[in-house]
């Protein structure tokens, strides 16, 4: 029954079908080509890069929902992304360190007491910031399901509190952007402290090692995460599409276009904005929780305010107000960025000087961003719209 319902839904919304189809094709292609599973044309590290890119696409969808559809230019979504990463990272790091400690203690005559195990784990994890005690916030780090719940709960509650405060006092527009940026900066500065309980600027590391799967090679784990990322992206896309194509979506768009008018129509604008803000924060957090095990390390530099602005850049280049635009923008710009800054791009020699992409890529990105804002405010998505409309009419 459900199956048919879903097929009907897909038939009614061809863009979702196209997106999911392409995503599935891409996933199958990568898995077959990957080093760990199939032919081996795609290296493990590139599989990880692609998996991370899919996670960036998720947060881009979140950004598109909150900015492109609801008109809130949040410069703080990378904070939620990183928080999600931190929450899952705590479990990864704690559980793995504990396994190592227990392994090392196997041949000791007296079995360790719980306190001793905790001491040893604490020394292992926090020795680098000059501590040995496990902070309060790690109380549940041992339990996977609790930390998984925290992935959603912690950023969700932060978004709820912050959003409630901000929307309640009708901070909007540019002010809200600056306020979200301030929130991100505050969080980053807090995490940079050594006594924040999250290892200061060392961040959490070794996250690519999944506790309990020590025997599984990274090449295989990378594929698992890639598939998981693709699946979650598909779910998020469908959910986001559901939101924007419903009546709720209309109200949200109405808020973007004329907030006062929607308010006068009797809608509680603040609640709608809060709903979108929290929902997107949770999407961002889930994306982060999938991203950082593939990246292997998370530190406070990840949530510097500039990261969130880049997010806005991706969405703007991809095309606001179109979910696939956000996905295209994030994938396109982030992959291009890693290509150019990774030193793989060939330098272009001029007679008098050489253009090194590692040096000039950001300059090009910056100016192309200005160009997109000025001349193509709808981004790549707008271009696709334009082309497909042409195709329809002919």
């Amino acid at each position: 029954m459900e199956n048919t319902l879903f097929t009907k839904y897909l038939l009614k919304n061809p863009s979702v079908m196209i997106f999911l189809g392409l995503l599935a094709l891409f996933t199958v292609f990568v898995v077959i080509m990957a080093e760990g599973f199939g032919i081996g044309l795609i290296s493990t590290s590139f599989v990880k890069t692609l998996g991370k890119t899919l996670c960036l696409c998720m947060i881009a969808i979140a950004m598109d929902l909150v900015w492109g559809f609801c008109g809130i230019l949040s410069l703080g979504h990378f904070a939620f992304f990183a928080l999600g990463g931190y929450m899952i990272g705590m479990w990864l790091m704690f559980a793995r360190t504990k396994m190592i400690v227990l392994d090392a203690a196997q041949n000791v005559a007296l079995p360790m007491t719980n306190a001793e195990i905790n001491d040893a784990v604490g020394t292992q994890i926090f020795g680098v910031v000059g501590g040995a005690e496990i902070p309060m916030i790690w109380a549940f780090a041992d339990q996977f399901w609790v930390q998984l719940a925290f992935v959603v709960l912690v950023p969700g509650v932060l978004a709820l509190v912050f959003g409630w405060l901000a929307f309640r006092s009708r901070v909007n527009g540019v002010y809200l952007s600056i306020l979200t940026q301030a929130m991100t900066l505050a969080l980053a500065l807090y995490l940079f402290q050594n006594d924040s309980g999250l290892r200061g600027n060392n961040g959490l590391s070794g996250l690519q090692n999944i506790p309990g799967f020590d025997d599984v090679p990274q090449s295989l784990i990378s594929i698992w995460f890639f598939i998981a990322s693709a699946a979650v992206l598909a779910i998020i896309y469908v959910v986001a599409y559901g939101v924007v194509s419903s009546k709720l979506g209309n109200i949200i768009r109405g808020i973007r276009d004329n907030e006062a008018r929607v308010r006068f129509l009797g809608y509680n604008v603040e609640s709608y904005k809060l709903f979108v803000f929290v929902l997107t924060a949770i999407i961002a957090a889930v994306a982060g929780a999938l991203y950082y095990p593939q990246a292997g390390i998370i530190n406070p530099a990840e949530l510097a305010p500039i990261a969130s602005i880049y997010l806005a850049v991706w969405v703007a280049i991809g095309g606001r107000g179109r979910l696939y635009g956000a996905v295209i923008g994030a994938a396109f710009v982030s992959l291009l960025s890693s290509y150019f800054t990774g030193g793989q791009a060939p330098d272009i020699p001029f007679g008098f000087a050489t253009l090194r992409w590692t040096e000039w890529w950001l300059v090009l990105l910056g100016f192309s961003f200005v160009a997109v804002t000025l001349y193509a405010p709808k981004g790549i998505g707008g271009l696709i719209d334009h082309l497909s409309r042409k195709g329809n009419s002919s």
Binding site: L110, Y175, I178, L179, Q193, V363, F369
Partner: protein, 675 residues
């Protein structure tokens, strides 16, 4: 005892003409010690130095000076001490030296260089010579030598210095130097005095003296040792009674309570206190958990203690039970129960004893120190206030340009920070060309204004003009420019920090006392902030340009119909705001290194300054900067080691503040407030 006194008498009597006189006695003394001087080591040199010091006098001082400075030679054959100067080569092509006697200063003619040998004392010996030299220097005729000797002495006061210093004070004629000598004598008396009355008087004379030296001199008097006894002894200088787990040691050696001093940890916890009892022989040794675990492993038979397998001992309770079995069956010493520990601790008294035996001295020291600390606290508060003020002026400088572009024109310019950076780099480039720091700074300010003004105008013409209706997109476009400019700066100037050196007249500080000193650069930045405030107020309210700017921002159409060209005004206003950012960049570059990230360090704070203060109002920016600056320093006061936390809490405070005054401290009212 009579001999040194007599010699000192001689020193005073003959010090004026002793230099010219060769003293046979001194020569004899040196001849006796020649071997030890030729090859000295810091272990063997002490008696020689003592001898020379005892002898004293100008000749001895000069001799030690030359010795210390490695200018002393000796003739290999005779062992005579000489001074040697290179004197060319003789006919046979051998290097020659001209030699004079080191003591009598009589020329001894020329010698082959190889027949004399330089004496090279190592650094340890030289330090010892310097210490010995000090009292002798104090009796020198030359005031500079006396002054140098006093300086050397005040750095490292020895007990043997007290007497010579006292004599030097009596003999000193220069009033300035005399009072300095008396000052040093006070510290010397505190450190090494043997008469409690004298020490106490010396301490009391330091009342109200805020110098670091004073605090460094008084603090060692208040060191104490923790002891334990059955009853409090009556014959020692007791600093405090310690209640283990409760009392806290205060800096003057007395005790306080944990309740009253939040964040302090008790001086002595129960375990440490009990360990003290054990060490003093007042209580039976405890079985520490480590020791218990070792015994468990040691006495295990076939992996079992009695009938308990070792592998089940994964809780403290189980281990204790197993150990108790060992106590019963293998005769190990029993564990000490917590109750016993507590009662043993309660039955004894723990106390701190001052190292200094005299209660008068320690109480005087703690009184004087408490008074000084109170004063220091007041000055530190003043210092904090000034710190806040200077931070506020920096934020104000960084934000004042934004107060125009964002505050008045409502253009959100994320590249504002990069304009600050451009200004700083302009200053750096000008310093490369113009070597004089004063002139280069004078040139840099208008140049930075010019460069950033042009950049601002260009940006307004090319980008911002098209986006006046879309403020959020201005944010993104200017952000694009920001990352491009940052990267360009990185490509041109590299990633390492470039110095922007302030002229020397800005280097010093206005010193009030050892606690409170205001660096000139802080004063200069404060003045620059004031200057900017005046300039902005003047331009915006008293000039035609300001009037037109306000008109255009309030209602461009109406302004245009009054004959104002809104395009031109927008362009100039934006350029003006950007130019101010450039000047701020020069000022900021003077105290922090110039990097391509200079601007982004300030951008968020700048926006918050404008938003908190109230958009569209220069007074608001001032209020915002004052609030953010003083707040940040105020929070730092509570946790000085952690400026990151201070910034975090400040931002959180600002977020909350915006809740209550969404339009900032000074909110516009009426029509102008409408977006």
């Amino acid at each position: 005892m009579t001999r040194p006194l007599f010699l000192c008498f001689l020193v005073f009597l003959f010090s004026s003409f002793q230099a010219a006189m060769a003293s046979p006695e001194f020569e004899e003394l040196l001849a006796r010690n020649a071997k030890l001087i030729h090859k000295s080591s810091s272990k063997t040199v002490d008696p020689v130095l003592a001898d020379i010091q005892e002898f004293g006098g100008q000749a001895a001082a000069e001799f030690m000076e030359t010795w210390k400075d490695k200018k002393l030679y000796y003739v290999k054959k005779t062992g005579q001490f000489v001074l040697a100067e290179p004197a060319g080569k003789n006919d046979a092509g051998k290097k020659m030296v001209s030699v004079i006697d080191a003591i009598s200063k009589q020329p001894l003619g020329q010698m082959v260089a190889k027949s004399v040998k330089q004496i090279k004392p190592n650094s340890g010996v030289r330090a010892k010579i310097a210490t010995t030299l000090v009292p002798i220097q104090l009796t020198s005729d030359d005031i500079e030598v006396r002054r140098g000797g006093l300086d050397a002495m005040s750095r490292d006061i020895q007990p043997g210095h007290l007497l010579p210093l006292q004599r030097a004070i009596e003999a000193e004629t220069d009033p300035d130097l005399k009072s300095r000598m008396e000052q040093v004598y006070v510290y010397a008396a505190i450190a090494h005095g043997t008469d409690a009355g004298e020490v106490e008087a010396a301490i009391l004379s330091l009342r109200d003296n805020l110098s670091l030296e004073t605090r460094a001199a008084l603090n060692p008097l208040l060191t104490s040792q923790v002891k334990v006894a059955v009853e409090l002894p009556g014959d020692v200088n007791i600093a405090r009674i310690i209640t283990p787990g409760v009392s806290v040691k205060k800096s003057d050696g007395t005790s306080g309570s944990v309740m009253l001093m939040s964040g302090a940890t008790p001086e002595l916890d129960q375990t440490a206190a009990y360990q003290m009892l054990v060490d003093a022989g007042f209580a039976a040794e405890t079985i520490s958990s480590d020791k218990r675990n070792e015994s468990l492993i040691e006495f295990a038979e076939n992996g079992r203690i009695g009938d308990i397998p070792l592998s089940t001992l994964n809780t403290e309770e189980a281990r204790d039970t197993a150990y108790d079995w060992l106590v019963l069956n293998r005769g190990l010493p029993p564990r000490v129960a917590d109750d016993e520990m507590r009662s043993a601790i309660a039955a004894h008294v723990f106390y701190g004893v001052y190292d200094h035996p005299s209660p008068d001295v320690t109480s005087a020291a703690s009184d004087v120190l408490a008074g000084i600390n109170n004063k220091v606290m007041v000055y530190k508060l003043m210092d904090l206030a000034l710190d806040g003020l200077s931070l506020a002026s920096i934020y104000f400088l960084a934000a004042i340009g934004l107060a125009i572009t964002f505050g008045v024109m409502r253009v959100i310019n994320m590249a504002h920070g990069e304009f600050i950076m451009m200004g700083a780099y302009t200053g750096y480039v000008i310093q490369l060309i113009v070597p004089s720091y004063t002139i280069s700074i004078m040139l840099a300010i208008p140049a930075a204004f010019g460069v950033t003004f042009l950049a601002g105008v260009l940006m307004e013409r090319l980008v911002i003009r098209h986006l006046y209706k879309r403020p959020l997109e201005t944010l993104l476009a200017t952000f694009g420019i920001s990352i491009a400019l940052q990267q360009i700066a990185k490509n041109i100037f590299g990633t390492q920090a470039r110095p922007l050196t302030s002229p020397s007249w800005l280097d010093g500080a206005f010193v009030v006392n050892d606690v409170l000193a205001i660096s000139n650069i802080r004063i200069a930045i404060f003045c620059l902030g004031l200057l900017f405030l005046g300039l902005m107020l003047y331009v915006m309210t008293r000039t035609r340009f300001g009037l037109e700017t306000r008109a255009v921002t309030q209602n461009p159409a109406m302004a245009a119909s009054m004959g104002i060209n809104p395009d031109r005004i927008n362009m100039l206003t934006f350029g003006f705001g950007s130019g101010i950012a450039g000047i701020a960049g020069v000022a900021i570059g003077l105290f922090s290194k110039v990097t391509s990230e200079l601007g982004s360090d300030y951008i968020v704070q700048s926006f918050m300054t404008v938003v908190v203060g109230g958009v569209g109002n220069i007074w608001g920016t001032l209020a915002g900067a004052a609030m953010i600056g003083s707040l940040q320093k105020g929070i730092e006061w509570f946790n000085p080691s952690n400026t990151l936390a201070a910034q975090t809490y400040m931002i959180i405070f600002i977020i909350l503040f915006i809740q209550f005054r969404p339009r900032g401290i000074i909110a516009l009212k009426g029509r102008a407030a409408e977006d």
